[in-house]
Symmetry: C2
Subunit: 363 residues, 2 copies
């Protein structure tokens, strides 16, 4: 048995004991009616948590990056134009995948730690006719919460599709797929949902489904091809596509249950309050946030490392002496930034005070 650690990095977060326990249930077949019922329950609960009526709402049988790839490989065909907004690692990853789809990528970039300005998207839309515009709602590499409503309007004015990365925001801060007109969204199970990593909740609007149905070429990935996967997740005859990760789905169902029992509004507020508590504590110690207050993610706190603090040494001490994981900086932020996650089960006063005490002891 591993020693329990407090996971305050960019995910995974700690799972609720009942979620871990759910994984130990006996296995059943992936076409068993009891399992199809679990899939139906998960779909319904994902619709509730994504705040959408979208029929095509389910969990990809692989981690969040496979959810990202699912959205892009299904919506893009060779030669399509795609506007990809980049203000961190995950925007870059989307651009990489879109290029692998044979799309012509138009990049809209903001410095890491800042949000994309809607005017940048407006300008980009003047020089191309993109099939989709993709943007990260919660940049896990920088801690930026990206406003989406204005950009969504711009995208739909030109009849393009809005693809959103909600890996870190889902179940932790306000996200309304239908109200915001998001056409394709993907997330991960291991962040504010506090389930084990390995599944990627996704949802597609009716507009997106029309685009899928109008494809001229086969999707380049068989495993992620929605024309095949959707026949397993919905319809009268549930056709075998792949063997679903049964135990992970048990965990996902239980984690979604907990979210809906708590209520989305209360859960978002809990994440915000934990963030505020951390903010006061860190600022008392002299730390500064990377992102300006307006665009700050509550569940992923990117803070600047003061001069004189040894990044690796402090993180090692936190992990080895205090069993607390926090996240290192990615890319250009390596050694300059820490990423402190307060996600799902960990967005509570106790983990915040545990971390602050440990940091005070070490620094």
């Amino acid at each position: 048995m591993n020693q329990e650690k407090l996971l305050l990095g960019p995910g995974p977060s700690n799972a609720h004991p009942s979620v871990l326990q759910a994984m130990s249930q006996p296995l059943i077949g992936h076409l068993d009616e009891d399992f199809l019922q679990i899939m139906a329950d998960i779909k319904r609960m994902l619709q509730a948590t994504f705040q959408t009526q979208n029929e095509l709402t389910f969990a990809v049988s692989a981690p969040g990056s496979a959810g990202m790839e699912t959205c892009l490989v299904n919506l893009l065909e060779p030669g399509d134009e795609a506007v990809i907004c980049i203000h961190g690692v995950f925007g870059n990853r989307m651009a990489d995948i879109a290029e692998r789809c044979g799309a012509k990528v138009i990049k809209v970039e903001a410095p890491w730690g800042e949000a994309i300005d809607p005017d940048q998207v407006r300008e980009a839309l003047k020089i191309c006719r993109p099939k989709l515009v993709a943007i990260v709602h919660a940049e896990t590499s920088t801690g930026v919460l990206q406003p989406l409503t204005e950009i969504s309007e711009l995208v739909h004015e030109v009849d393009s599709l809005l693809v959103v990365d909600a890996v870190t925001s889902f179940c932790g801060t306000y996200l309304n797929i239908d109200e915001w007109g998001i056409d394709a969204v993907y997330s991960g199970s291991q962040k504010c949902l506090s389930a084990p990593p390995g599944l990627s909740p996704v949802s597609f609007s009716a507009r997106a489904v029309e685009v899928l149905n109008a494809r001229k070429t086969k999707v380049q990935s068989w495993f992620l091809d929605l024309s095949l996967v959707s026949n397993y997740w919905q319809g009268a005859k549930r056709a075998y596509h792949h063997t679903a990760p049964i135990s992970s789905m048990y965990a996902l169902k239980e984690a979604l249950n907990l979210v809906l029992q708590e209520g989305l509004k209360a859960r978002f507020e809990r994440h915000l309050q934990a963030h505020k508590l951390l903010k006061v504590g860190l600022e008392d110690m002299g730390f500064e946030f990377l992102v300006s207050e307006e665009y700050r993610l509550p569940m992923l706190n990117a803070i600047k490392l003061p001069v004189g603090i040894d990044d690796q040494l402090v993180r090692d001490k936190l992990l080895k002496n205090h069993q607390i994981e926090i996240g290192a900086g990615l890319g250009g932020f390596a050694g300059k930034v820490w990423r402190i996650g307060l996600m799902g089960e960990n967005a509570r006063p106790k983990p915040v005070s545990t971390l602050l005490s440990a940091l005070k002891e070490i620094i």
Copy 2:
């Protein structure tokens, strides 16, 4: 809590209680040294079970079909020729994926329920210069065990790569990657390994790695791109690629532990003995096997439905009254064939006698 069912279909099989229990261990970070150690342990144990020294041996973070796709999208580039042997559903799936890679597919086909004759491969190799020849070792849709050694020689005589689907054979019958000269192999966690579904063990020979390194184009899948995934699984600096499914990896490690404690030879023999017991029982009841004895898989028994037996009715009664799942026929075998799996934990006398008693009661 679900009622425990006896899973005698084409997988998942029932997991050992200690494997299910392993999934309830507290989560840790995907870059935590303790987790990197688990990955190293899994790699070492996969090398032992695959009987290979291959450095590039690991578990894809998604089910077996993603393992299949990993092998093909990494080894094939647009315009490459690929010989795909088809004698069931999974050969067809390989051909589909290879075509999605832009490869020119040369199909070598045998009737479902029969093995591919090496002479067929010999003939195919006269009319093309394929980059790889792909074949299913254990066709889960038909119950055929495909001999590989002669085909392997033919493939290597023309400097091609041998890609093998070992989803159902791995850990249940003799499979020796190095001795047989297999260049790329993929399996699943939920068959004879008796772990929950969701991971796909894979291994690549030094020859295959050379081909990977010589690619002229990017792999079409970012998620499955071995040039990226391998930096997470090996090397001095373990680079973040995706968030690994931590809990599923705990289960995989425990399942591999159990296999190695038992010993491969004993495990193969156990599968064979369970098959023989089932064979006697079924033949006593008048059932006939689909596959001739020489090519019969021990862990996946395809039997013909006698006239007068209602496929769906009997399988429903087995599942609802006896909590036993067996597999329906796929494709052209729907309604004509049953597939009885004796995999991993279930390759024992008890599950065989439980099934035979239930069948006698129903029929």
